[in-house]
């Protein structure tokens, strides 16, 4: 019998409706409550769990007490096994972390959680790669790619996974923006890591056609196309973060910084996990290209999870020397929305927008729209 872990961050999303741009930290939660905010995540969790309850006789559900899952599970018709203890009405990120850790110990097959980017980070810190995870979108900030499109689809994917109908697992970005900075108007997001997420086949090609196998081939082709360009001379290649760019480093058998920026030249590593300032020093006077991929579910090229690639760095390298890589499936998943640039420099954003050639395979490209 498959075991499903359920964690609800009951205060996720509470800051959204009252304009607080997030719910991280107890002060904000209290302030939100003062402003009359109602928690939304319990309701969203119930929406997802109701779908899962179609298979309730063939799974075991483990959850945390009261509003952290017990109540939502019961409302959806489950009779869950409840572990741990919390103070009702005063949950903290620490509770989320503890709950996730204990569920891993209980050998769950899938962790379904309701929350936002902050919750995803907490889960990531305690679960890492140990257990597949799927997010029910319930927070103010949903930049991470670990969330299903809707609560309902989270339920659908969970059911498919628990019934062995969906075996593909992909690594999805856990991202979060600095809420304090966000409140003061600046968006600085960081890529915290990757969680293993059952593949959602809504926009991408279905499992039936060998999604993962075909994707591996496409990625190998993309890497080969970029590496081909490394042959001619001593041009520097700045390799941005992400699992797509990682394939280039893997093909070169170079250690990759998944969450950071590396520099490669002549197929050799020049520098690892470099900051903006280091980048500026290193590339000065060198012909350089930047290799970036689409980060997060909203299609960002710059300004999400790769702030090292600052306006200064981009200008130094030159817009013509930006290589964008992504699979066609990833582009199709954007559903026609443009790729986004948010460098923090309006002028540069404008220069970057228009049409860009995205490398989608070996000598295979898509012309795609860039906006800001």
């Amino acid at each position: 019998m498959k075991k499903l872990g359920v964690i609800v961050n009951p205060v996720a999303g509470i800051g959204g409706r009252v304009g607080l741009k997030g719910s991280d930290g107890i002060e904000i939660v209290l302030k939100a409550k003062e402003l009359g905010a109602q928690p939304e995540s319990p309701m969203r969790a119930v929406d997802a769990l109701k779908i899962v309850s179609n298979v309730k006789d063939s799974i075991e559900v483990i959850t945390y007490p009261y509003e952290m899952g017990e109540e939502e599970c019961q409302e959806a018709g489950f009779n869950p096994k409840v572990i741990g203890s919390i103070f009702r009405g005063e949950t903290t990120p620490g509770d989320t972390k503890k709950a996730a850790e204990e569920m891993v110990k209980n050998r769950i097959d899938l962790l379904l959680f309701a929350g936002g980017d902050g919750t995803a980070r907490d889960i990531y810190n305690s679960v890492g790669y140990k257990v597949p995870v799927l997010g029910i979108p319930a927070g103010v900030k949903i930049h991470s790619a670990v969330f299903a499109v809707t609560p309902r689809s989270a339920g659908e994917v969970a059911v498919m996974f628990l019934r062995d109908r969906l075996i593909n697992i992909r690594e999805a970005e856990v991202m979060d923006i600095d809420e304090d900075a966000f409140r003061s108007g600046a968006v600085t997001s960081k890529l915290y890591g990757y969680l293993r997420v059952p593949e959602e086949s809504r926009y991408v090609q279905s499992v039936k056609t060998g999604g993962i196998i075909a994707e591996k081939e496409a990625l190998a082709g993309i890497a080969a196309d970029v590496i081909d360009k490394m042959d001619d001379d001593d041009c520097y290649f700045i390799i941005g973060p992400g699992t797509t760019t990682r394939v280039i480093m893997d093909s070169l058998r170079i250690n990759n910084t998944l969450l950071g920026v590396d520099i490669v030249s002549n197929r050799q590593l020049i520098a690892s996990d470099v900051s903006e300032n280091q980048l500026i020093d290193l590339i000065k006077g060198h012909r350089t290209k930047i290799v970036v991929t689409v980060i997060g579910g909203q299609g960002h090229l710059f300004g999400r999870g790769n702030q090292q690639l600052s306006p200064k760095v981009i200008r130094e390298v030159g817009i013509k020397n930006i290589i964008v890589i992504a699979t066609k499936e990833k582009l199709a998943a954007l559903s026609g929305r443009p790729l986004l640039v948010d460098t923090g420099d309006e002028g540069l954003n404008k220069e970057l927008s228009g049409y860009i050639r995205v490398t989608t395979g070996f000598e295979d490209y898509v012309i795609y729209k860039v906006g800001y």
Binding site: R165, V204, Q205, V207, K208, Y365, V366, K369
Partner: protein, 519 residues
């Protein structure tokens, strides 16, 4: 008995024979036929015919199945009962494929007429004048239909036809000493062979995404075009069924940078007698005879991709060309700038015969009527399908489409969790072939593509729509029921992952034995 008069649904159940693989049926020594001995004159020349093989002669006979006639006949009849072909179902499902009726008259000629079956491609031209005449006349027909100056019937399928056009584009640039052209452009909703064939020919391929109206993005195309562009390879209408009325602007933009424009008209069913490649400005085009001109679909071989070119590209056409000197038809091999042979001999003569017969039966007005009926049928079914709960249609709001529509079950999936592949499997339970979803990646989510070409009546379309409506109803009432379908077919639901696992797939008997551990 019979179809329900109100619901238009049938109580269908397909045969399930649990049939062996033919190689498992082999009984050593059992015979289907005794091969006749060669004629005396030949025997006198080469004896029993085997000794001349020398070292080429096999030491061990091939492991072919040994099965008598009646068992073979039974075997394949049973297998045929476990499929849903054009002759037994309302074949509206295969959008983009144009599954039109292939009249039995021409099928009979192709299969039985000694003028077709008893000839050999190495026969002297003088003994196949009738065949060559059909080649020549069919070329005149297709010239008129497309506006191109020359046609060639050698490629054995649509993708082969496009590849031949790619080869001509390559030869054209080479003849001009232009070596900088390394790229080809296509669109996301064109057939994937428009990307694959230039790629096979060594070109880098640039793909254009659809804009919000479903047309290939013209601005993106202008961004993609350069002096490196060898050609554009596109369809119109694309898989969405939306005709791009500004196609000439795309062609002009390509011509402005010196590229050639190749029109993939594999499925030209909505345009016969109405719009032509030449007026849109194209330099090359191709028709899939098995789509638009009613020959049966041939599965990547015994089909035909007839391709046409403008006069200045004629010298690059494959050899041999069928020519006519006013008295006699002949094969012309003396074409020094030709790209050479693209297929053995001179292509699939039985397909030429079918297309010739079909066009002769219809006449010019008839061909136009084919297009008009296709479009009318499509407009009718589109209206009906749009009314089915759970269906959405992306792009081109308020515009009519030509011969097909790419629909989406996006809403059904959101509402019920039932997706396009679930609905597709359930179709079989009503005696309808699984529909065509989409090429990959799925730009339109949960897609399905229907094409009720001119062959189908209003009643056929009504029955088809009734099935789609019924499945939608079932999905809203009991999604699990649809997800676990089919129930009335020889094979029930096959879990998707197992299809992906190459180690579980065998495409030859040898592989099968190895993987199954069969001695």
């Amino acid at each position: 008995m019979g179809r329900d008069k109100n619901t238009l649904l049938r109580k269908f159940h397909q045969a399930r024979w649990d049939e062996e693989i033919i190689l498992e049926m082999s009984v050593p020594g059992e015979r289907g036929i005794l091969v006749p001995r060669a004629e005396e004159g030949i025997r006198a020349e080469i004896g029993e015919g085997v000794s001349v093989l020398g070292n080429l002669r096999r030491k061990v006979p091939p492991a072919l199945p040994e099965v008598n006639q009646m068992r073979i006949n039974r075997h394949y009849m049973r297998l045929s009962q476990e499929t849903l072909g054009t002759d037994v179902n309302i074949d509206i499902s295969q959008g983009t494929c144009t599954m039109k009726y292939s009249p039995k008259f021409q099928e009979h000629l192709a299969a039985r007429h000694p003028g077709m079956t008893e000839i050999h491609p190495l026969q002297d031209e003088d003994t196949i004048q009738g065949i060559l005449e059909m080649y020549y006349k069919l070329e005149q027909f297709l010239k008129e239909i497309s506006g191109m100056d020359y046609f060639c019937f050698q490629p054995g399928g649509g993708a082969h036809g496009v590849f031949t056009n790619v080869s001509i584009v390559r030869a054209y640039h080479k003849s001009r000493g232009d070596k900088e052209r390394t790229e080809a452009i296509t669109t996301m909703f064109s057939h994937p062979c428009d990307a694959a064939t230039p790629r096979t020919a060594g070109y880098k391929v640039v793909t254009l995404m659809p804009d919000e109206n479903g047309y290939p993005d013209l601005q993106a195309m202008k961004a993609a075009l350069s002096e490196r562009t060898a050609g554009i390879f596109i369809t119109n209408p694309e898989d969405t069924g939306i005709y791009n009325p500004r196609i000439d602007e795309y062609v002009k933009a390509a011509h402005d940078v010196g590229a050639l424009c190749s029109y993939d008209q594999a499925n030209a069913n909505g345009m016969l007698g109405i719009a032509r490649a030449i007026e849109a400005g194209f330099d090359l085009c191709q028709f899939n005879i098995h789509k638009t001109f009613s020959a049966p679909h041939g599965c990547m071989g015994p089909a035909m991709g007839a391709h046409g070119v403008k006069a200045e590209l004629a010298k690059f056409l494959p050899v041999p060309r069928v020519e006519f000197d006013g008295k006699r038809y002949y094969l012309d091999y003396n074409r020094p700038e030709s790209i050479g042979r693209v297929r053995s001999f001179y292509g699939n003569a039985p397909i030429v015969m079918r297309a010739y017969a079909w066009i002769m039966q219809h006449g010019a007005e008839g061909l136009r009527e084919v297009a008009e009926c296709s479009v009318l049928n499509n407009n009718y079914i589109e209206k009906k399908i749009r009314e089915v709960p759970g269906v959405v249609v992306r792009y081109a709001k308020g515009k009519r489409r030509l011969e097909q529509v790419r629909y989406s079950w996006e809403k059904l999936k959101e509402d019920t969790g039932v997706g396009t592949e679930d609905v597709m499997r359930r179709m079989g339970d009503f005696g309808l072939q699984h529909y065509w979803t989409s090429h990959h990646p799925w730009v339109v989510p949960e897609p399905f593509t229907l094409e009720p070409c001119e062959s189908y009546s209003k009643d056929d379309i009504d029955e088809y729509v009734a099935v789609i409506r019924q499945i939608s109803k079932e999905a809203y009432e009991d999604p699990e029921f649809v997800k676990n379908s089919p129930y009335n077919l020889p094979v029930h639901k096959v879990l998707a992952p197992s299809i992906d696992e190459t180690e579980r797939i065998a495409v030859t008997w040898r592989q099968y034995k190895k993987k199954k551990g069969v001695k």
